[in-house]
């Protein structure tokens, strides 16, 4: 009796096990199949989306190319102006010519301005403005009161894309009124001043030797 019971339990157990394996396989297969089908549908949909997006890309490239062509002249001019405002090197000779030109234009009879000296120092990077260096410039100038303020305005407006004047900033001014002190009511009052400035430029990749 006992041996028969054992045999019965063994076959039943195997049957149960086999049924469980079958059920597990069916369940696994079902869910994996669904997942696979979902991925297949996604692939098909992605292919259609890719076609639509490729068209959009071509159309965007076309409009960008048209815009780029239309602005190429403008941007070339902009690049030139930026280069004149903020050159890629000290360019102190260019600056000398630019300053000279200013003094020549503004030195008039009855309203003179005279640059008696011009000195350049050694350019160095400015910590406050990464990638930018400053060239020290100092000048002694004799002028009228009117021309003094005009000169201050000239420096204040430097660096404008409109004018293309080299970007400069005044670091210090010593203003003297030799004849009896400042007279506000006389714009042609003679004075002299020493100005210390920085003329800016893009720090070169290779340092000047």
């Amino acid at each position: 009796m006992t041996s028969q019971s054992t045999i019965i339990r063994g076959s039943t157990l195997m049957l149960i096990l086999a049924s469980t394996v079958t059920l597990a396989m069916l369940t696994y297969g079902f869910f994996q199949f669904r997942f696979m089908q979902a991925q297949r549908r996604a692939v098909a949909e992605n292919k259609m989306t890719a076609v639509t997006m490729a068209d959009e890309l071509n159309s965007s490239k076309k409009s960008y190319d048209e815009l780029s062509k239309a602005y190429s002249a403008v941007h070339e001019a902009l690049a030139k102006k930026i280069a004149s405002i903020l050159p890629t090197d000290e360019r102190y000779t260019d600056l000398t010519r630019q300053l000279d030109e200013y003094f020549v234009v503004n030195d008039k009879d009855g309203n003179p301005i005279f640059q008696s000296s011009l000195r350049f120092g050694k350019g160095a990077p400015v910590a406050q403005f990464p990638g930018i260096s400053a060239l020290p410039v100092s000048m002694n100038i004799e002028a009228t009161r009117e021309n003094f303020f005009k000169f201050l305005e000239f420096i204040s407006s430097s660096g404008s894309l409109d004018t293309g004047i080299r970007l400069m900033a005044i670091k210090g001014v010593q203003l003297n009124f030799p004849d009896g002190g400042e007279l506000l009511k006389n714009p042609r009052q003679d004075l002299n001043f020493t100005v210390e400035m920085s003329a800016y430029y893009v720090t070169p990749k290779v340092a000047r030797q």
């Binding site: 039943t12 602005y71 894309l161 210090g172 203003l175 009124f177």
Partner: protein, 415 residues
């Protein structure tokens, strides 16, 4: 077993109704019954030539027994023929049966396991993204196709974003060329800003299929990272050339900065340029200038940091001309009326220091008071601070006027 049967035959053998053989002591009632039965059966047997069912319920189940055959042959009823043959039932048969069942169950288990393995193998081949052994023969599996198609979507979306941002940068650069004249070019600038807005307002991300749910913000971050990575790779390629084009490299840097500056993009996208106030518009333009190309940004920052010395001098004059100091300053009345006379100014932008030298003259001796008023006025001015003058001295000239030299130092207030 046979001897047993034999014994049983001998024991239970009965005749066919004619005469009952003498049975051993067991005969009794049973013999009578058998005799009666035989009598009833005999006419039926004689009437039919065809063989009819003989025997009893047991023989009906188990077929004719040997006893029945004997009976047919001998015509005698036996207990054995009535009861039929003893069924063949044995433990061995049961064991065999169970063994068969067990074997079938085992086969079923093996088959199920084999099929499961096949099914698993099939889906592994189809769904495992890292399995590429058979790609040369069968191509990509489903999961690999899925990931490839998603990657393709991302690539095209990144290309579109790149073109859009280049377009936005181009428009912003164009606006930059007009900022200095924005009072005149106001309408044109706004028109271009609206175009920039349309570009920057579009989301970077595109909806793609994924196994896990992804939020809109995560999608935007992902596509922003893809765009930045693409630009970085392109920049690296450009920089690795024998003679790298600096303008091209600057262009890449400017684009990367624009993409990274989410706040700026959001700010541009948020304004309504049709209704914006002048002050807000100026602010936007300055921000655009500041966020422009590296050079334009640097130019804007340097210009913003400059000190306007003309304005500083003008403020000094305002303070000097106040009621308590010298209302007629600079009118050329110093020699006659007295007051303040400045002979020199010294300005230093790096420290904000201002030095003024001059004279103060009055007909009465309240020179020090005037100087004190001037010091107070300078200190009160929002433009200046830290004036410190502690040593006063005055002289009296032949005409009876009092004068004091002036050397004042103070600082510019940081705005």
């Amino acid at each position: 077993m046979e001897s047993e049967n034999k014994t049983e035959k001998e024991t239970y053998a009965v005749g066919n109704g004619t005469s009952a053989p003498s049975a051993p002591n067991q005969g009794g009632i049973l013999a009578q019954l058998l005799a009666k039965r035989s009598a009833a059966k005999a006419p039926a047997e004689n009437a039919s030539a065809t063989p009819t069912k003989t025997g009893n319920a047991f023989t009906a189940l188990f077929g004719k027994s040997e006893n029945e055959t004997d009976q047919a042959a001998t015509g005698k009823n036996t207990l054995a023929s009535m009861l039929g043959k003893r069924p063949a039932f044995s433990p061995r048969a049961l064991q065999d049966l169970e063994a068969k069942r067990s074997k079938r169950a085992k086969n079923f288990l093996y088959a199920a396991t084999a099929v499961f393995a096949l099914v698993y193998g099939f889906f592994y081949l189809q769904l495992e993204p890292n399995f590429t052994l058979l790609n040369d023969y069968l191509g990509q599996n489903v999961t690999q196709q899925f990931e490839s198609s998603n990657a393709e979507i991302e690539r095209i979306a990144t290309d579109i974003n790149l073109v859009r941002f280049r377009q936005a940068r181009l428009l912003l650069d164009d606006i930059n060329t007009m900022i200095d004249e924005h009072q005149i070019l106001n309408a044109q600038i706004k028109e271009k800003l609206v175009e920039v807005q349309k570009i920057l307002a579009k989301p970077l991300g595109v909806a793609t299929f994924s196994r896990k749910p992804i939020t809109g913000e995560e999608r935007e971050t992902k596509f922003e990272a893809l765009l930045t990575a693409r630009l970085a790779a392109d920049r690296q390629k450009a920089a690795a050339q024998e003679k790298p084009n600096q303008d091209e490299l600057r262009g890449f840097d400017n684009l990367i900065r624009l993409i990274a500056d989410k706040n700026f993009r959001q700010e541009i996208a948020a304004h309504d340029f049709a209704k914006i106030s002048d002050g807000d518009f100026d602010e936007v333009l300055q921000k655009i200038r500041g966020k422009a190309t590296d050079e334009l940004s640097a130019i804007a920052n340097i210009r913003a940091a400059r000190v306007d010395f003309a304005e500083v001098i003008s403020e000094i004059h305002e303070v000097t001309k106040s009621q308590d100091v010298d209302p007629v300053y600079g009118q050329g009345l110093f020699k006659t009326v007295g007051g303040f006379l400045f002979s020199s100014y010294r300005f230093e932008a790096s420290t904000g220091r201002i030095s003024i030298s001059g004279l103060v003259k009055r007909s009465d001796s309240s020179v020090f008071s005037r100087i004190a008023h001037f010091i107070d006025a300078i200190e009160k001015s929002p433009r200046f601070k830290d004036i410190d003058f502690r040593s006063f001295s005055k002289t009296r000239d032949d005409e009876g006027d009092y004068s004091s030299s002036l050397n004042l130092d103070f600082e510019l207030e940081k705005l």
